[in-house]
Structure formats: C-alpha cells, structure tokens
C-alpha cells in the first residue's frame, strides 16, 4: 500500500480520536515503518490490516465496518487532492465506470508501481450497475467504503449487494449497486 493510504488513515484517526489515540495505536501494533509514511512509497499491506484490526478493537467496531468507514473518508480526501476525476464525470455510475480505465490508470503514472485492484463493470439498466472487484489484497470493504464516499459526493442514495466475496473463497467480489429514489 502506498503511503498516501496510511497518511489518510492517520488523518482520520487523529481527526476522530486525537493524536494521543494514533500514538497509542502505533505503540500497540509496533510496525516496521514505525508509522513513518511518505505518500509515494510502498509499505507492507499487513500494516493497514494491523492498524485497522487494532483500531477496531480500541473502538469496538467490526474491522470490516471500520475499513469501510475508512474507504468513505479516503474517498473525500482523494477527491480533495485530485478533484479532476469527479469534475470530469457528472453521474455516480459514469464515475464508477471510470475508476478502472481512467482514475487508476492515472494513479499508475503518478505513483511508482502501485498495487491496484482489477475492476470490471456491467451496466444492467439505468438504475443497476454490477462492479466486479478482484485483487490479491482482498480489500473489498475498502472498495465498498470508496463507493459509499462517491455516492455521498454525487448525493445519491443506493443499496449495495456484495453478493460474491473473495473472503468466501471466490476469485472475485461482485457488487450489485442499485440506485434508490
């Protein structure tokens, strides 16, 4: 994972629980990086998992929910940093369809060998989009959170059916996203 993801995680923890909590968290998990993260460098994926797991214990929230909340938070920060991607797409679905072929393609130019997931999508009808996620990192909850963040940005209501999941042994996750009035 690139340092930028950790930077945003740190920002979220400090914003929600304070610097002392973040310091405590780092002290509890004892990471190789010592919590020193630079946006463009890569750090072990395990560190995100370790931080999220410990944070979920501290806050007594299930890890999945915590990662999802983080995804939602991360989306708003990514958009702050790179407003061009949401500026270019006017609808929620158009934006989601551009993640793989436009946004993450740009990410590859800005960051040296990022670890990005693979997305395929299928627009079923005007109100339904199927997104198929696959990644050796199995951060599908992060994806769910990012999608939630995007929905907030586009001010739409939706429901998400995480019908197939890599954590249940599948080789991909399917998100069936339905727009709600």
């Amino acid at each position: 994972m690139k340092g930028i993801v950790f930077n945003i995680l740190e920002q979220m923890v400090i914003e929600k629980a304070g610097l002392v909590a973040w310091d405590q968290l780092l002290n509890d998990v004892q990471l190789d990086s010592q919590g020193i993260y630079t946006a463009g460098k890569s750090y072990p994926d395990d560190e995100v998992v370790a931080l999220a797991t410990r944070a979920s214990e501290m806050l007594d929230i299930p890890t999945g929910d915590l990662i999802k909340a983080f995804g939602c938070y991360m989306f708003s920060k990514l958009v702050q940093r790179y407003p061009i991607f949401t500026d270019q797409k006017t609808t929620f679905f158009d934006f989601l369809k551009s993640v793989h072929d436009v946004i993450h393609v740009e990410v590859r130019k800005l960051y040296d060998e990022p670890s990005l997931p693979d997305f395929k999508h299928k627009q079923i009808n005007d109100t339904q989009l199927l997104m198929r996620y696959s990644s050796p990192r199995k951060f599908c909850m992060l994806a769910e959170g990012l999608i939630a963040g995007a929905a907030e940005h586009y001010q739409v209501k939706y429901s998400l059916d995480h019908r197939t999941c890599m954590h249940q042994g599948a080789d991909h996750c399917d998100f069936l996203i339905t727009l709600e009035p």
Binding site: W22, Q34, T38, K41, D112
Partner: protein, 325 residues
C-alpha cells in the same frame, strides 16, 4: 506518558517522512535526468540518420547527373589521346624531314616561324603528360561518383550465403601488400560463425577500407586485430588498431560523405560513408570506440539472414549508427 511526548514523537515521524519524501524526489529527479539524456541521445542519433539519408538522396541525384557527361568526357579524352598521338607522330615526321633537308625552304621558314611561336619540342614533351593527368583526374571523379552511388544506393547488391570469416581473410590478402611493411595483423575468428546472406564484394570493400584506415592511423607501425564472433542471430566483427585514436570531436562526422582528415588530394572522404551505406543495406550497424594514443575499435553488427523474411526485417532495422553518436 505526557502529551508533549506524544507531539514530540508525531513531529519526529513527520520529519522523517519529509526526509524520505525528499530522498524519493531526488531519486526520481535523477531517474528523469537519465531518461532525458537517453532521449536526447536517441534524438541526435535520429537526426544524424536523417541527415545521412538526406545526403544520400542528394548524392544519388548528383551522381546520376554527373555520371553521363563524365562518361562522354572520358570517352572523348581517350579518342583525343589517340588523335594527339597521331598528330605528334606527324610533327615528329616533319621535324625529321626538316633535319634531313627534305623540305622546300619556304615550308622550313614557315615551320620555323611557327616553332618560335609555340615551341613544338615542348608540346611533344608536355602533351602526353597533360593527357595522362587529365585521365587520372577523370578516373578519380568517376570513382567518387561510383562511391556516391554505393553510399546512396536504393537497391542493395545481390546476396549470397557467405562465410564472413572467409571474406575477412580474402580482404586482408588484397590489402596485405599495402600494410605488411609496418603492421602486424592478427586474425581472431570464430570458427562456428554462421553463414549469412550478404554481398561478398561489398563486405570485402568494408573490411578493406577499415583495415587500410587502421594502417594509416599507425604510420609508425602497429598491430591490427580482426575479430569475429556471434551471439544468437547476430554476427559481430571488430577491427581494432593500436594507432593514434580518433579525436572525440570528429567521431560524429566520421561516417559523413566527404569527411576526411587526410590532406587535400589524399583520400576522397568517401571510405567510411560507403562502409556505413553498405552495412546499413545489410540491416546491420557500425560504431566505434576510440581512445587517444591507445587505438580505435570499429564494431560491425550484422544480422544472420537466412530467409527472405529475415532480410526484410533486417532492412527495416537498418539505419542505426551505434556507439559513434
């Protein structure tokens, strides 16, 4: 644990993260700089090739235009040389008749008057030399024109399966007389060199040119090494001397037509441009490395061409001058 300590640690992390970021920035700047330089080099190599191609086209035009009038001049000069000999024979005959007192006084007087004006003895002596000089000059022009044609030729010469080692050996034999007095030549040939489709006489011209150039770089004597080797489907030929070396500032011009370091009248400056043209035609590349006072190494790379398709591919890759740029 006091809150100050917490902030202190956070500050230290920030500091370290900033140092890391700076280091990363430096690394990518360095990377960018290197890539930029490589790009610039590629670009100048491309410009160079383009320049050579333009010169090639111009030369082809010039060669074509000069060739026909030149042929007329040479052929007429040959006839004129014959006519001149006949006229000189007549003149000699008249002189003989005169000495033998066989000519009427009036004719002798007229002849003497002309002789005082033009000096027949001088003409008899000078005219054949002038004819010979003119012929030599024209031959030189013809050679330049034909070299220009080789340099700029659009159609490559006929190809046959040849053994490059044999070609190297034969070329050496042809020039041996010129170099054997002051140079020792070592052949270091790869016995398993594959045969390739190439034009024997053209490659021979390439090798002779390079060997003679090497010999010229070693007026005081020296050693020339001719080396062949191959890897995958590429043949490498190196001609190495321990002569004076080629100054860096002229290396880039060395394959240009008419470029020569020899004094006027010696060498046409076409040698290496012809070499370049021939190697390019064969889909290969030629480059050099040189160190002043140590010597020069010309490296030729030729693709092993076994089928028509290979040859087409080789032609597509043609046009690179490696190293020298």
């Amino acid at each position: 644990m006091s809150e100050v300590e917490v902030y202190q640690r956070a500050l230290n992390r920030e500091k370290q993260a900033r140092l890391d970021a700076e280091e990363q920035l430096e690394n990518s700047s360095r990377e960018l700089y290197k890539k930029n330089q490589a790009l610039q080099q590629q670009q100048s190599a491309m410009l160079k090739n383009e320049k050579l191609a333009t010169i090639g086209m111009l030369s082809a035009g010039v060669a074509h235009e000069i060739n026909n009038p030149l042929a007329v001049v040479i052929s007429n000069l040959n006839s004129l040389t014959d006519y001149n000999q006949q006229l000189l024979a007549l003149l000699a005959q008249v002189q003989q008749w005169q000495q033998q007192g066989q000519l009427p006084d009036a004719i002798v007087a007229a002849f003497n008057e002309m002789d005082a004006d033009v000096d027949f003895d001088f003409i008899i002596e000078d005219a054949p030399d002038m004819m010979a000089d003119m012929k030599e000059g024209l031959m030189r022009m013809q050679e330049i024109v034909s070299n220009l044609k080789t340099f700029s030729r659009t159609k490559p010469g006929e190809r046959q399966y040849i053994d490059i080692n044999a070609c190297l050996e034969a070329s050496l034999k042809l020039v041996n007389n010129e170099i054997k007095d002051h140079c020792i030549v070592n052949l270091d040939l790869d016995p398993s060199l594959p045969k390739t489709a190439a034009n024997n006489s053209e490659l021979s011209q390439v090798f002779m040119n390079l060997v003679i150039n090497a010999a010229h770089a070693m007026e005081q004597g020296g050693r020339i090494r001719m080396h062949s080797s191959h890897q995958n489907d590429q043949i490498k030929i190196q001609i190495v001397d321990n002569g004076t070396g080629i100054p860096e500032d002229i290396r880039k011009d060395i394959f240009n037509p008419f470029f020569t370091t020899k004094p006027p009248g010696h060498g046409t400056g076409m040698g290496l441009s012809v070499v370049h043209g021939i190697i390019k035609d064969h889909g290969g590349s030629i480059g050099l490395t040189s160190k002043m006072g140590v010597g020069t190494c010309f490296t030729i790379r030729l693709p092993v061409v076994s089928t028509q398709n290979d040859e087409e591919k080789a032609a597509e890759n043609a046009g690179e001058i490696a190293g020298a740029l």
